[in-house]
Symmetry: D3
Subunit: 276 residues, 6 copies
Amino acid sequence: MFYHVKELQYNAKPDRPDPVYAKKLQEVLGGQFGEITVMMQYLFQGWNCRGEEKYRDMLLDIGTEEIAHVEMLATMIAQLLDHAPIEEQEQAAKNPVIGAVMGGMNPQHAIVSGLGATPTDSAGYPFNARYTIASGNLLADFRANLNAESQGRLQVVRLYEMTDDKGVRDMLSWLIARDTMHQNQWMAAIEELEQRQKPIVPSTFNQKYEKQEVSYSFMNYSLGEESSEGRWANGKSMDGQGEFKYVSEPKALGQKPALQPAPGYIHGTPPTNPKQ
Amino acid sequence: MFYHVKELQYNAKPDRPDPVYAKKLQEVLGGQFGEITVMMQYLFQGWNCRGEEKYRDMLLDIGTEEIAHVEMLATMIAQLLDHAPIEEQEQAAKNPVIGAVMGGMNPQHAIVSGLGATPTDSAGYPFNARYTIASGNLLADFRANLNAESQGRLQVVRLYEMTDDKGVRDMLSWLIARDTMHQNQWMAAIEELEQRQKPIVPSTFNQKYEKQEVSYSFMNYSLGEESSEGRWANGKSMDGQGEFKYVSEPKALGQKPALQPAPGYIHGTPPTNPKQ
Amino acid sequence: MFYHVKELQYNAKPDRPDPVYAKKLQEVLGGQFGEITVMMQYLFQGWNCRGEEKYRDMLLDIGTEEIAHVEMLATMIAQLLDHAPIEEQEQAAKNPVIGAVMGGMNPQHAIVSGLGATPTDSAGYPFNARYTIASGNLLADFRANLNAESQGRLQVVRLYEMTDDKGVRDMLSWLIARDTMHQNQWMAAIEELEQRQKPIVPSTFNQKYEKQEVSYSFMNYSLGEESSEGRWANGKSMDGQGEFKYVSEPKALGQKPALQPAPGYIHGTPPTNPKQ
Amino acid sequence: MFYHVKELQYNAKPDRPDPVYAKKLQEVLGGQFGEITVMMQYLFQGWNCRGEEKYRDMLLDIGTEEIAHVEMLATMIAQLLDHAPIEEQEQAAKNPVIGAVMGGMNPQHAIVSGLGATPTDSAGYPFNARYTIASGNLLADFRANLNAESQGRLQVVRLYEMTDDKGVRDMLSWLIARDTMHQNQWMAAIEELEQRQKPIVPSTFNQKYEKQEVSYSFMNYSLGEESSEGRWANGKSMDGQGEFKYVSEPKALGQKPALQPAPGYIHGTPPTNPKQ
Amino acid sequence: MFYHVKELQYNAKPDRPDPVYAKKLQEVLGGQFGEITVMMQYLFQGWNCRGEEKYRDMLLDIGTEEIAHVEMLATMIAQLLDHAPIEEQEQAAKNPVIGAVMGGMNPQHAIVSGLGATPTDSAGYPFNARYTIASGNLLADFRANLNAESQGRLQVVRLYEMTDDKGVRDMLSWLIARDTMHQNQWMAAIEELEQRQKPIVPSTFNQKYEKQEVSYSFMNYSLGEESSEGRWANGKSMDGQGEFKYVSEPKALGQKPALQPAPGYIHGTPPTNPKQ
Amino acid sequence: MFYHVKELQYNAKPDRPDPVYAKKLQEVLGGQFGEITVMMQYLFQGWNCRGEEKYRDMLLDIGTEEIAHVEMLATMIAQLLDHAPIEEQEQAAKNPVIGAVMGGMNPQHAIVSGLGATPTDSAGYPFNARYTIASGNLLADFRANLNAESQGRLQVVRLYEMTDDKGVRDMLSWLIARDTMHQNQWMAAIEELEQRQKPIVPSTFNQKYEKQEVSYSFMNYSLGEESSEGRWANGKSMDGQGEFKYVSEPKALGQKPALQPAPGYIHGTPPTNPKQ
C-alpha cells in the first residue's frame, strides 16, 4: 500500500514557461524509457518477485521513487505550459517567434489536456505497457533495468543540453544524479547475481541441450572482416565456458524449405495444374 | 545491400503439426524480444552507427544473421500449421482434443494468414517498431542488446520445455546456442567500451553538473530495510567514483506544487469565487 | 441500413485555407473524444442494445447524426488544406511565415492523404477502437456518453478560441450547440434510468456481497486533510444508502505478500541456496 | 512523493491456482477501465490540477489508493498462476481438463512474465495511455471518473460471477465496495461543481456564440419514432435553459460539398479533360 | 448527411448461439480487412474526393452500404453470444465441451461488452485507423479497394467453411456475393482510369526524372533463377513503355556509407582516440 | 539465409543536412507503405508460400531488394540529420529560420535516436506489423502488393516535389524507377494468375453458394445517380460471369433486429418492468 506527501522529492520550478520544451520533455515522462516505464517496470518486477525478500524490497523502493519522478516531471511540464499561446493563426503568422512556438507545441497540450502534462512521449505517442519488462528472472530483468537507466540518463542529458532555463536544469541535474545511482545499483545487483549463478540467462538450462558447436562462434554475414577485431571474436568467452571463434564464411546448414499445399478449405493459391 | 540463399541457416522441420504450439512460438518471432525485434535493432544500430567501422560491421553481421532466424521461425510455424483443423464447432465440441486445439489456436492463423506465420506475438499482438532501440550511443545500446538476448534466450528455453517434438527442439537448441554466443558477444563488447570510457552512460556528461549529493545514495521508500542487505547499498560504487550510502528515511526536498489558474481561453475549471 | 444525402447537416466552409489549423481540427475528428469515437460508440451501443426499443432507437438516431458530423469535419479539413505549401525547405526558410506553416502542418496531410482529412487526432495518432465504449449496461454507457460530450464540447470550444476564420467558427458553433443538446440528452437519460434503478452501477449486484464496511469511506492516503472539505466526505451518500465517513489514517489490512518460487520449467531466478 | 508499506490494502489470497481465471482478471488490472487506468487518471488529474487545493488533495488521495489496487491485483494474479501447466501439448491433449486450461491461458503468462501479472487486459492487449483522461476541466473529468468507476464496478461484478474461489471473491468484494464509494464520491463532487457553475461543460463559453436554434433539439435520423418517448425529447432541458424539442424529419442545411482539384505537385487524380 | 432504417440490408439470424464462432467472426467486423475498415476507407475517399462527381457519388454509395454490413455483423455476433457460459471454471473443467467454449471465447465478450460485438478482430486487437487508405489519387486507392475486397472475400469464405450454422451461412452468402460485386466494381473502375491515364501511379510524374535504366529490370537477389520464369521477367512491360529484363547478378552501385561523428551535445559514442 | 555487402544498392548522399526533410522522409521508411512494410510483406509472403517455387523465389528476390531500400533510406536520413540544431529555444526564437527547423523536426531524432533514422512514419508513429499482408492466396496478395507499390511511388513522388536537394532527388529517382518496375511486376504476375484461375478471389469458392441475385448489382445508397455513369454500373461484369445492374432504390431485406435480454450474471440494463 502507498502513501503520498505533498512535497516533491526535489524542486521542479522552471524560470519561465516554454511550451516547445514542454513537448520535448514529455519524452522522459511517457516515452519508451521515460519515468512511467521504469515506475511500472520496477513495481511489476517487485510484485511478481518470487526470489529473496531483499530483491522485492529493493525493487519496490526504487519503483516508489520513480512515481515521485513522474510527479516531478508532470509538475514541471504543467508550469512550462503556463500561458501557452493558442491565439489565431493569423496573428501568429505575423510574429514568427509566436508562430514557431505554436508550430512546435504539441497541440494536445492545449486542446486535450488544457495545459497539463500527458502520459505520452515527445512525438505525442502514448505510453504503451508493452514497454514494461518483468520476466520472472531477476538477472534478465536487472539487465533490462540497467539498459533503461542508460537510455534514460542519455535522454535526460540531451534534454539538459537543449535548454538554458536554470530551474529546468536544476531539476534535471537531480534526475541525472539519480540515474547515475541507478546505473550503479543495477550493475551492483547484476554482479551479485552473476557471481551466484552463471552469467548466461537462464543459468538453469543445461547447456548440453543446446547446439554447443555454435555457442561461441561469431559469424561473419557481412562482406569484410572488420568485425574480427573485437573482443567478441577473440579469446576466452565471457562466461568462461568456451573460446570465441571467428567464422569468416558461414554456410547454410538447414533445408531448402518446401511447404505443403494448404487444404482446400483454406482457399489458398490453387495448384498450377489442378487436373493432374 | 543483401543477398539471399535458399537454404536455412539451420534445420526447421517439426516432427508433426501442432497449431497450438505454433501460436506460442510466435512469441519469439514477433514479440517484444522476438527475432524481428533484434533484426531491426541490430540493423538500425548498424546503419545509424557513427563510431568505429568494426562496430558497424559487427552490428550488420549479427543483424543479417537475425533475418535468417526470422526466416527459420516463419518456416517452422507454417509447418506446425499444416492441416490445422478449422471444421465446424459442433464437430469439434464432440471431440475434446480437437476442441482444445481449436480453442487454443490463434484464429488469425486460419482466417487471415491461411496457415502462415504472422509478424505478431503469442497473444496475437503485432510487432511494434517502438520495441527497436538505437540511441546513437553504443554502450547504451549494447546493454539493450544484452538484455534482448537474455530475455530472448529465457523465452526460447521456456518454449523448449513446452514441447517434446524432436524437430522443434532441434531448431530451438540452435537458437539457444546462438543466444549463448550473443550474450557473450554483448558482454565482451560492453567490457571493451567500459574500459575505454567510464561505465556510466553517457560518459561524456561532466558529473559536476549533476546533483552529486545523491549520485550514490540508495533511498528506502518502502517500509522495512531488507533492501539494505544488497551490494547496491554497501561499499564502493561500481563506477569507482563514490561510496554507496543507504538512506533509511529519505525526505522530500522539493516544493509543494501550486499551479496557476489557466487562462480563460482554455476553459478549465472556473475559479471558485470568480468575482473576487 | 443507411442512406446518404449529398448535402451536409450544416455548412462547412472556411473563409480561407489554413493547414496548421487543419492539423489541430483533426483532434475532434479522430481523437479519443472525436466524432469518429462517438459515432462508433453510439452505433455499437445501439446495435448491442438488449433493453427497451426506445433506447435502441435513440442511440441509432444520435449515432447516425454523428456520421454526419464526421462528414462535416472531413469536408472542412480538406478545404483548410487547399493549396497547402509543400515547396522546398530552402524557399520556406527564407519566408518565416511559410516556414512556420510547413513546420506546423501534419506532413501526412501532404504525403499520405494528398490534402485530405485523415482518421487521426491532432498529434497524428490514429483513431483506435479501444476508445469505443459499449458495455451492455445502459446506465454505465450513458455516463460514458455524458463524459464524451463534455470532453468533446470542451475541445471544440478550445478550437473555436484558436481561430478567427468566420466560416470555421460558424461550423463549430453548430457542433457546440449539438454538444449542448447531447449533454442535456444524456443527463436526461441518466436521470430516467437512475430513478428506475439504484444509481450505483450495476444496480443488480446484491450489496450484501460487497465489503460494506468501506462502501462509504473516503480514505486519506495523501498527507494533509484538505480533501475532508468536500461533499464526498460529509453527509448522506449520493445513493442514499449510507453516510460518508472520512478516514484520516487508513491502515493496511491485507497480508504481506510472499510468492512461491516458480517451478523449474519456468527458469525464474534460481533459489539463493540451491543445495539446501 | 510517495512511500510504500509492505502490507496490502486488503487481502489478496486465492484458495487455489487458476491460470484461466488469471487471464480474465487481467481485464480489471490493465484494461481500458482497469486499475492502472484509474491510477494514472487520478494522479495526472491531481498533478495537473489548477483549481482549489481540496480537489488536488482528493485526487491524489484516490490516485494513491488505486496504486494499492494495482498491487493487490498483481499479487492475486501471480498466485493464480502458481504451477500453471505448460507441459507438452501431447500430454495435455490426452487430458481435456489440462488441455482446456492450456488453451484458455494467456501464453505470455508463461513465456514472457514467468507466472507474473502483466500490464495488459484479458485479451492480452497492453495498457495504453490514451485511456487516461485529464482535461484541465474538473467537471468534465469527474464525469470521466464516474464513468470509469461505473464500467469498472460492472466488470468486477462480472468477474465475481465467474469464479467460486472464496479468496478471490473476498478480494473482489473489497474492490466492489470501494467502487461503490468511488461512484458516490464522483457523484458528490459533480453535484458540488454543477451547483457552482452551469452543468454544461465548459460553463464558461458564452452560449450566444453557439447555434442556439439546435441546442435543445432531438433529431430523429432513424426511421420510426420510439425515441420520442424519452425524457430527452420532452420537457425542460436539464440545464434549465431551454425546452426539449423532437424534430421528426431533420433536414440537411449545409452545402453539397465540391472540393477543388489538388495542385499538380500533389499528383492526385488527373482531371478528366486535362486539355480543357 | 445520413438516415437509418431499422431493417437490416439482409438477414442476420443464427440458428443457435456459438460464442467461439462469435470471436472468429469478429475478424471481418473489426480486422484489417473487416467491414469497419472498408466503411471508413470508402467514406474518407468519398469525402476527400477532388475528382469527378461520379466517383465521389460511387464511393459514398458503397461506403454507406458498408455501414449496413457493419450493422449486420454486429447484430449477428450479439446473437451468437446469447447465453454465453461464464460460469465458474471448476464446473467448466468437468464438462470439456463447456470448457472448450470458455477457453475459446474472447473473455471481453463477457467482461467488457456484456455479450455484444466489439470493434476488434478475431485476436481481440482493436480496429486501428491506420488501416484506412485514402491518398487523393483514385487509381492508387481503387487498387487498395480491390485488394481489400479480395482479402475480405477470402476471409469470409474461410469463415463460411468454419461453421455449419445455416443462418450464419445465409448471411455470409450475402456478404460473399457483395464482395464479388465489389471486386468487379473496382476492376471496372480501375480499367476506366487506366485507359484514361497511364497505368503507373502516379501517371503525372514525368518518367524522365526517374532512373530509367532500372525501370523495367527484375533483379535476382536470391540465389537460384526460378524467378526468371514469370511474365514479370519476359516480354513487354505492362505499361507498354519498356521491355522486362532479368538481371541475374545485380551489383551494388552505391557508396559504402560512413557517417560523421555526432556533435558533442548528442553524447553519442565517444571517439576511440579522443586526444588525437 | 542472408548475406550483406557494405555498398548500398544505389547512392544515398544528400547535398546538405535538412532535419525537417528527414522527418518527412521517414514516411517512406516506416510508414504504412514504407520500405519496412514491403520488406516484411514480400518476405513473409515468400516464407509462407505454398505455391509454385517460382513465386517463392520471386517474392524473396524482391523482399531482399527491399531490405536494401530500407538501408538506403536509413543512411540518407542519418546524413540529413547531421548537425541538427538542438540549442536552447531562446536562441532559436531569435532566429526564425532555426526556430522553424527546430519546430519542424521530430524531437525524437535528437533525444531518442541521437541523429539516426527511426522505424517510424513522418508523424512519428511506429511501424506496426498489422500493415504486413500475407494471406496464403497469391492473387489476393499480389493485389495488395500492386497497391503498396502504387501508394509507395505516389508518396516518393510527393517527397521528390518537396526538396531541391540534388543528392536526395538522385536517390528518390532510383526508388521511383524501382517502383515503376514493381508496379509492372505485380501487374504481370496478376495477369498470369488471373488467366489461370478466375479473377474473383478466392476462385475456388463455388459461386452457387453465394447469393447470386446481388453478385453484379451496384446499389445506390446515396441520393443522386451520378454513380450510374461508370463502367461498374453498365455492361458485362469484369469476371465475365454476369451483367452489371444499377439498383436505384435498394430496399432493406433483413429483419428488424431485436436482441434477447442478457442473463442475470451479465448485469446488463435491468428490464423495465422486472416484476412482470
